[in-house]
């Protein structure tokens, strides 16, 4: 589709607030449910390395890298509710920061400080690398300048 870039960058009213909130809520519910499903499918005990939450967080970070390049960097119009639904909603609800820190806290309290520190660093590194590789790959695939 031919597109006027000016029209995209000029201020314009966003979608109305109620549909955005509904899209975020629906996406957040779905994302949280998917995370819960992963925790049931691959449970990790209170003394174990939290592989499931780590994997969920890294996958969610890679996917937001793809989404944000596709939505904000191509200059093409995307449906206005796509980012609130998929980004803020689904991926925001799928990934979790609170479980991450409370799992670190629990591992420390149960005398697994080494596991706690490894988990802390590995999640942070995996998440940032995930966003970086996925966004760079998406730019390349869509022919967007970095």
């Amino acid at each position: 589709m031919l597109h006027d870039r000016e029209a995209d960058t000029a201020p314009r009213p966003g979608p109305r607030q109620a549909p955005v909130l509904a899209a975020v809520a629906l996406g957040g519910g779905l994302g949280a449910t998917a995370r819960y499903a992963a925790s049931l499918a691959w449970p990790t005990g209170p003394d174990a390395f939290p592989w499931t939450t780590l994997t969920v967080n890294v996958i969610g970070c890679a996917l937001i890298g793809v989404l944000m390049v596709a939505v904000t960097e191509t200059g093409r119009a995307t449906p206005p509710l796509l980012r609130p639904f998929l980004g803020t909603g689904v991926l925001g609800g799928f990934t979790t920061f609170s479980t991450y820190v409370v799992d670190i806290q629990r591992l420390i309290e149960r005398a697994h400080a080494g596991t706690a520190l490894t988990y802390l660093a590995l999640t942070l590194a995996g998440a940032l690398t995930g966003v970086w590789l996925a966004s760079a790959g998406t730019r390349k695939a869509l022919g967007v300048a970095a």
């Binding site: 955005v20 909130l21 975020v24 809520a25 629906l26 996406g27 957040g28 519910g29 779905l30 994302g31 949280a32 449910t33 995370r35 819960y36 925790s39 967080n57 969610g60 970070c61 996917l63 937001i64 890298g65 944000m68 609130p84 980004g87 803020t88 909603g89 991926l91 925001g92 609800g93 799928f94 990934t95 979790t96 920061f97 609170s98 479980t99 991450y100 820190v101 409370v102 670190i104 806290q105 629990r106 802390l120 999640t123 942070l124 998440a127 940032l128 995930g130 966003v131 970086w132 966004s135």
Partner: protein, 120 residues
């Protein structure tokens, strides 16, 4: 039942994060993602409190897995951290990454301590 509790918690937590982010981001002009930071700290404090509150498993699915899980986010946190590094804000990048993790841990400990002193 369990699925519905997580779904309902997520449907509440995600819009709360969105509204928190909007409210915080409209009140400062710095390039620092204080909105996501605020949502993540609030959720970490609340989850720390909940872990010390000995609630039923149903309440935990709704409040912990659903609400706190969706109120906080790792994906936006990582994306914003990487955006800070791409815009050359090196100090902000490290401050956001390490500051969020350390402050989040601190918030979880405060929440746990609150639960133990209030309910213990």
């Amino acid at each position: 039942m369990n699925w519905l509790l997580v779904l309902a918690g997520g449907m509440l937590g995600a819009p709360l994060r969105y509204l928190t982010d909007r409210a915080v981001q409209s009140r400062h002009t710095t390039g620092f993602p204080w909105g996501t930071f605020t949502a993540n700290m609030t959720g970490s404090l609340l989850l720390g409190f909940l872990t010390g509150a000995a609630l039923s498993s149903h309440a935990m699915l709704f409040l912990a897995t659903g609400l706190c899980g969706a109120l906080t986010t790792y994906s936006t946190f990582s994306y914003e951290t990487l955006t800070l590094s791409r815009t050359g804000a090196g100090v902000h990048t490290i401050a956001n990454a390490l500051g969020s993790v350390l402050a989040g841990l601190g918030a979880a400990y405060v929440g746990l301590a609150l639960a133990q002193s209030l309910l213990g």
